[in-house]
């Protein structure tokens, strides 16, 4: 079998275009996918018109200065800001396509925030000729406005709480440039209690002062709850996230196993399918299996060839990716296990395709046509489609090596979960596809 393996490697070496395609194509696909998965579109260029006058960039609330500009700056962080001076200039830039959108902070934001009579409004003008980017800008600006709004709400809540504390406990506050001593409910209650004691027992005023004292105590008790109430008003709904199934792999880290799985898939499927189909295309298959090489041995050689090549390629890719992504080299044996089992699964699938197609071109075409939809199906998240459709997708994905390879690589690289089940799944798929490939060889010699 080793002579066949050496022969195939020699043929591969003498087919530089094929070898280059087998290496470059999956790497290019992998990098594109990794790039797409690990980050969204580039930061869109957005025109920013800040109409807040310098004098209005600070909001004075209860003697405390709140820097409004600090909060509006948050709006600019997720975009590539292009500063403009007038609304007309902002509109021109949007219309000409120079920017995707314009964000206008009107001059009355501070006043509206101070009065609280109506909500402060920022205006967004956007270019919707590219729906994907337009949606991205809408989402980004909406999220940023929400963040800025929340931050400002928290600050205003703080100020309001200071007021309430002043009413409850009293203290000093600066008002119109003068230092004012506020009595507060607590001290008022003490004064009322002292005044009540000085009144004769039969005095009718005592009862009225009792009512004032009870009111002061009740008001103080309720105001002490205001911290929680205002916090709830500031964030009425909080999100408590719990992962029920799957790991908590960040998107950027998930891109590595996705890229690797795509590369493994293309290299092994195309190589195993092509190498097996080549034996028939060169008419060598009948000569080989008439006693020189057992059919199962020939299959094992093709699967081994594809798996070895894919393993080498995957390790090279990981070495290159480690320059950009932090990879835990301490888990290297698990990487090897995941890559090797994944490569064997894909190679067995490729051998089955090669056995069924019987010609190199047909095998390659069938390999690509089958692999791509299987891969994309495996990446469909739950909830993206109806329950029945997702169940069907899960069944289809489980019948091919892409999903278990991705799970095994994610577990090996990102500790997303146990690695045993996907490895076992891959071993079963390798045997199943190996059996299909072996059956397909029955009619191969005719």
């Amino acid at each position: 079998m080793r002579w066949l393996l050496l022969k195939d490697l020699r043929i591969l070496r003498r087919s530089p275009l094929l070898a280059a395609l087998l290496v470059i194509y999956p790497i290019a696909i992998a990098l594109l996918i990794g790039f797409a998965v690990s980050r969204g579109p580039d930061r869109p260029r957005v025109a920013i018109l800040n109409e807040l006058p310098a004098s209005a960039r600070t909001l004075s609330l209860g003697g405390e200065d709140v820097d409004v500009a600090r909060y509006t700056r948050r709006l600019f962080e997720a975009v590539d800001p292009v500063t403009v001076r007038t609304r007309a200039e902002a509109l021109d830039k949007v219309r000409s396509g120079d920017v995707l959108a314009a964000l206008i902070v009107p001059p009355d934001v501070t006043r509206k925030l101070e009065t609280g009579l109506e909500p402060a409004t920022v205006q967004v003008l956007y270019n919707a000729e590219d729906p994907v980017k337009a949606r991205y800008v809408q989402d980004t600006i909406k999220a940023q406005v929400q963040d800025a709004s929340n931050a400002l709400t928290r600050k205003l809540t703080q100020v309001a709480l200071g007021y309430l504390k002043l009413i409850s406990s009293g203290g000093r506050v600066s008002l119109l440039g003068r230092d004012v001593d506020v009595l507060g409910l607590e001290r008022a209650e003490r004064i009322v209690r002292a005044a009540r004691r000085e009144l004769p027992r039969a005095s009718a005023s005592r009862e009225r002062l009792d009512r004032v004292e009870r009111f002061a105590a009740l008001a103080r008790d309720n105001l002490s709850l205001s911290d929680d109430v205002l916090a709830s008003v500031a964030s009425p709904i909080r999100v408590d996230r719990k992962v029920i199934h799957g790991g908590a792999t960040p998107l950027s880290s998930f891109a590595v196993p996705v890229a690797l799985t795509f590369s493994l898939m293309f290299v092994t499927v195309l190589l195993a399918a092509g190498a097996l189909a080549l034996e028939r295309e060169e008419n060598a298959f009948p000569r080989l299996v008439r006693g020189l090489v057992p059919r199962s041995g020939l299959l094992a050689e093709k699967v081994g060839l594809a798996a070895i090549c894919a393993l080498v390629l995957a390790l090279v890719m990981l070495a290159a990716l480690s320059a950009f992504v932090d990879l835990g080299w301490g888990r290297f044996p698990l990487w090897i296990a995941a890559i090797a089992l994944g490569a064997l699964g894909f190679a067995a699938m490729g051998a089955a395709i090669g056995g069924l197609a019987r010609e190199v071109r047909a095998a390659s075409l069938l390999g690509v046509m089958l692999s791509l939809p299987v891969a994309f199906l495996a990446l469909v998240p739950s909830g993206a489609v109806s329950g029945g459709a997702y169940d069907a997708i899960r069944v289809v994905s489980a019948a091919f090596p892409f999903r278990p390879t991705l799970s095994a690589l994610d577990a090996a690289l990102n500790r997303s979960g146990p690695i045993g089940p996907p490895l076992l799944h891959l071993a079963v798929l390798t045997l199943a596809f190996g059996a299909i490939a072996r059956l397909s060889l029955v009619r191969f010699a005719r």
């Binding site: 008419n283 009948p286 000569r287 006693g291 020189l292």
Partner: protein, 236 residues
């Protein structure tokens, strides 16, 4: 050329593809140095018969006196790797055949085929005739006593055909039993010691070319005409 000289014997070979019977109880034998031509119209079962003798396919019934591994087989289309050189192809198959002296066998075949000067050329760059010579050389690497050739001269020009037959006749003179199938009736008459006529999987005749001519009794016809007349009379 019978008895102790017999190197291959097949008895009652049957092969079915679904409901179609490609071979119906065909028996044959070949002796050392004998040239046996298998002729018949398209779909007669010639290739099926040779592929069963070569061990590429298994018969549904019948027996063979010699295991497939001891028979040299040369398929109709060159079964070679185009990206490998002539010498690399020979070396690879010599190793797979477990030939004791691989390099010796390769050199011998290069010399016998007259391709020593093309040894380092990739097979894909060779002419059809040279490719067929390498194809036959691969079948002879293990020095088999029986060589099976499936339409060896198909797609060769007359000059290449002449050189090929010189080579095959040399092998037969050296004692190798050669069984070949052909569409070219004249080629069968010219080189074969014995003819096997197959039609629709049935063996209609086994004997020398002269015996076939006599059997059809078609005076005035050339050999090809006699053969066609023979088939017509047998309902084919």
């Amino acid at each position: 050329m019978e008895g102790e000289d017999r190197v291959l014997e097949a008895v009652g070979l049957v092969k079915r593809y679904g409901t179609r019977e490609a071979l119906s109880g065909v028996s044959l034998a070949a002796s050392r140095g004998e040239l046996v031509a298998v002729i018949g119209p398209n779909g007669a079962g010639k290739t099926t018969l040779l592929s069963i003798l070569a061990g590429v396919q298994r018969p549904d019934a019948g027996s063979l006196s010699r295991p497939a591994g001891e028979v040299g087989w040369v398929p109709q289309q060159a079964a070679l790797y185009g990206k490998l050189t002539v010498a690399e192809n020979l070396r690879l198959f010599a190793r797979l055949e477990k030939v004791a002296d691989v390099e010796g066998a390769v050199e011998r075949m290069l010399e016998q085929t007259g391709l020593a000067d093309r040894r380092d050329d990739q097979v894909a760059t060779l002419s059809g005739g040279n490719r067929q010579r390498v194809n036959i050389a691969v079948g002879l690497l293990a020095e088999p006593e029986v060589l099976l050739l499936d339409e060896p001269s198909a797609a060769l020009d007359p000059r290449q055909r002449e050189r090929l037959w010189r080579f095959i006749l040399d092998r037969a003179r050296a004692g190798t039993a050669v069984i070949y199938s052909t569409h070219d009736v004249a080629e069968a008459e010219r080189y074969a010691h014995r003819l096997l006529v197959l039609a629709d999987g049935e063996l209609l005749f086994s004997g020398s070319p002269a015996e076939l001519e006599a059997a059809c009794g078609a005076g005035g016809l050339d050999f090809e005409g006699a053969f066609v007349e023979f088939l017509r009379r047998r309902g084919h």
